[in-house]
């Protein structure tokens, strides 16, 4: 087990209303779990809690148990939690160190903080660069990249910490369609080529379609539904909680409702399969 939350409740410092209540979920090695829900459902807070940053870095009150690779996050110092769980935020600009002249050194920033040997750092940077397919960026200035490229560099920087768990908090929310596609392809590669456990918060459910194994729906700080991605994304649970279904699913359902689904699926010219991709 890589990440396990059991009956987790969380309140920000100075507040009395809990943002999360009785949340339980698991993300195993090699598994991708999509976390969806309406605005203010507590998704970003759950990311901070899962990564050990709440209450570790920002304070607040945590109830229940958060296990990262078998260790309670309460017992971990921030840099210890960082080696077990990497977190990627929405805004790529805030995740760059601002001190590295090249993408290569930006990715090496975390491993350098840990005091690793140069050989180990080189191995980690090369590994992250190869996994995400960003070899062509390594010599560039990190502040002269597109949004999608910056987010990939931020992801590579987190990967270089070699975490067992990755928490991605709406990694494409500030990206244009091209950037979203770029990050989506990299995440798909990450999911298939590594055994990292991935928890991904995403409004764009199209990205989760085909990427996530399971979906957890959060609303009002509570888990209101959880299950296999294919059934949850296609069912009625998401719209009931203010989350849009993937476009391909919506089109499929609309065509099926119009009695056209059977004529447009199957065979080499499977239009719906193409839409789903």
């Amino acid at each position: 087990m890589s990440l396990r939350l059991t009956d987790v409740g969380y309140r920000y410092a100075g507040t009395t209303v809990p943002v999360l209540t009785g949340v339980s979920l698991e993300v195993r090695r090699g598994q991708v779990v999509g976390l969806v829900g309406p605005n203010d459902a507590g998704k970003s807070t759950l990311c901070l809690v899962a990564a050990g940053l709440a209450p570790g870095s920002i304070g607040g009150s945590l109830e229940g148990s958060v296990l990262l690779d078998g260790r309670e996050t309460r017992e971990l110092r921030p840099h210890e939690a960082a080696q077990r769980c990497g977190i990627l935020f929405q805004n790529p600009a805030t995740q760059l160190s601002g001190t590295a002249p090249t993408v290569y050194e930006e990715i090496a920033f975390g491993p350098r903080n840990l005091g690793l040997s140069v050989a180990e750092i080189v191995g980690r940077v090369d590994g992250a660069v190869a996994t995400l397919g960003i070899r062509g960026l390594v010599e560039r200035d990190p502040h002269r990249l597109s949004g999608g490229e910056s987010q990939l560099v931020a992801l590579a920087s987190v990967m270089a910490m070699r975490p067992a768990v990755l928490v991605l908090d709406e990694p494409t929310s500030q990206l244009d369609p091209a950037g979203t596609a770029l990050v989506g392809r990299a995440l798909a590669r990450l999911a298939t080529e590594t055994s990292v456990a991935i928890l991904i918060v995403e409004h764009k459910t199209d990205l989760l379609n085909g990427l996530a194994d399971d979906i957890v729906v959060l609303d009002g700080g509570r888990v209101v539904a959880a299950g296999g991605a294919s059934s949850l994304l296609a069912g009625d649970v998401l719209p009931a909680h203010g989350v849009r279904r993937p476009a391909a699913v919506s089109i499929r359902r609309a065509l099926e409702a119009a009695g056209l689904g059977g004529r447009l699926t199957g065979g080499d010219g499977d239009i719906l399969a193409g839409l789903a991709e």
């Binding site: 990564a51 940053l53 805030t94 160190s97 350098r112 840990l114 005091g115 040997s117 140069v118 750092i121």
Partner: protein, 261 residues
């Protein structure tokens, strides 16, 4: 496994290849002597040293920009000292209620030389030393990671803030705000710019600090250095000699032990 070649890429040219600490000491010594040594010798000699160094480092056009940037300050120094020098009686000319004096003009020219020498010594240093080289070298010498980070991000923030200011100005303009024309109009244009700039920067602070935590910034291990910049015994000796000579010269000048013209 080895680092890629571009990580250790060195600048070309004898002066640029000096260790950042050596260039920093030269810049510091030049600025300190220009300011602290009395009369003309200090500023004139140091301005000459800076210009020769700039020539060796082939800093033609870039250094002119730095020199031009001092013009507003130089003008104010010249005007204030020439016309308002306290106690001066050797009148050169009268402009309305103001009186230009010879003593004031001499003081103004001296102060101008000091300011220009100082500005250009900083310019020569910054134009010949990449920020990351300086930070790597300071880090290797034991400066803490937090100090290094603060210096590095402060330097890096300036172009990013300028970029953000441009974006906000463009978006304000797109909504009809007039930011062109007279000085007064430009000043008024700054007001709506300041709010988004400050609030944007503040809102990013928490996420930025959490992102740093997520990359092991608070780890207690000694941070690994990737760039080891060449240094030599000759440069080490030169640095100490320059520092000792500078301190001696300044003390001798200030205490009156040495009278320089």
């Amino acid at each position: 496994m080895a680092l890629p070649a571009f990580i250790g890429r060195r600048p070309t040219g004898a002066y640029r290849r000096l260790n950042p600490a050596t260039k920093l000491v030269i810049a510091f010594a030049t600025a300190a002597i220009a300011f602290a040594v009395r009369e003309w010798t200090g500023p004139v000699t140091m301005l000459a040293v800076v210009l020769v160094t700039a020539g060796i480092a082939r800093l033609g056009r870039p250094i002119v920009k730095f020199a031009l940037a001092t013009i507003p300050l130089v003008i104010s120094i010249l005007l204030v000292n020439t016309f308002l020098f306290p106690g001066a009686t050797d009148v050169l000319a009268r402009v309305g209620p103001f009186t230009a004096t010879g003593t004031g003009l001499a003081a103004a020219l001296q102060a101008t030389l000091r300011v220009v020498a100082f500005a250009l010594s900083v310019a020569v240093f910054s134009l010949t030393t990449p920020t990351d080289d300086l930070l790597s070298d300071l880090e290797r010498r034991g400066l803490g990671r937090r100090t290094i980070f603060i210096i590095g991000s402060a330097i890096g923030t300036i172009p990013r803030m300028l970029e953000r200011a441009r974006e906000i100005t463009d978006s304000q303009r797109a909504r009809g705000l007039d930011t062109e024309g007279s000085v007064w109009r430009r000043i008024r244009g700054v007001v709506p710019l300041a709010g988004p700039m400050i609030s944007g920067a503040l809102s990013e602070v928490e996420e930025r600090s959490m992102a740093l935590e997520a990359r092991g910034f608070s780890a207690s291990a000694r941070r690994t250095t990737l760039r080891t910049l060449p240094d030599s015994q000759t440069q080490l000796v030169a640095r100490w000699l320059i520092l000792v000579a500078t301190a001696t010269l300044i003390v001798a000048s200030l205490t009156g032990l040495v009278h320089l013209p």
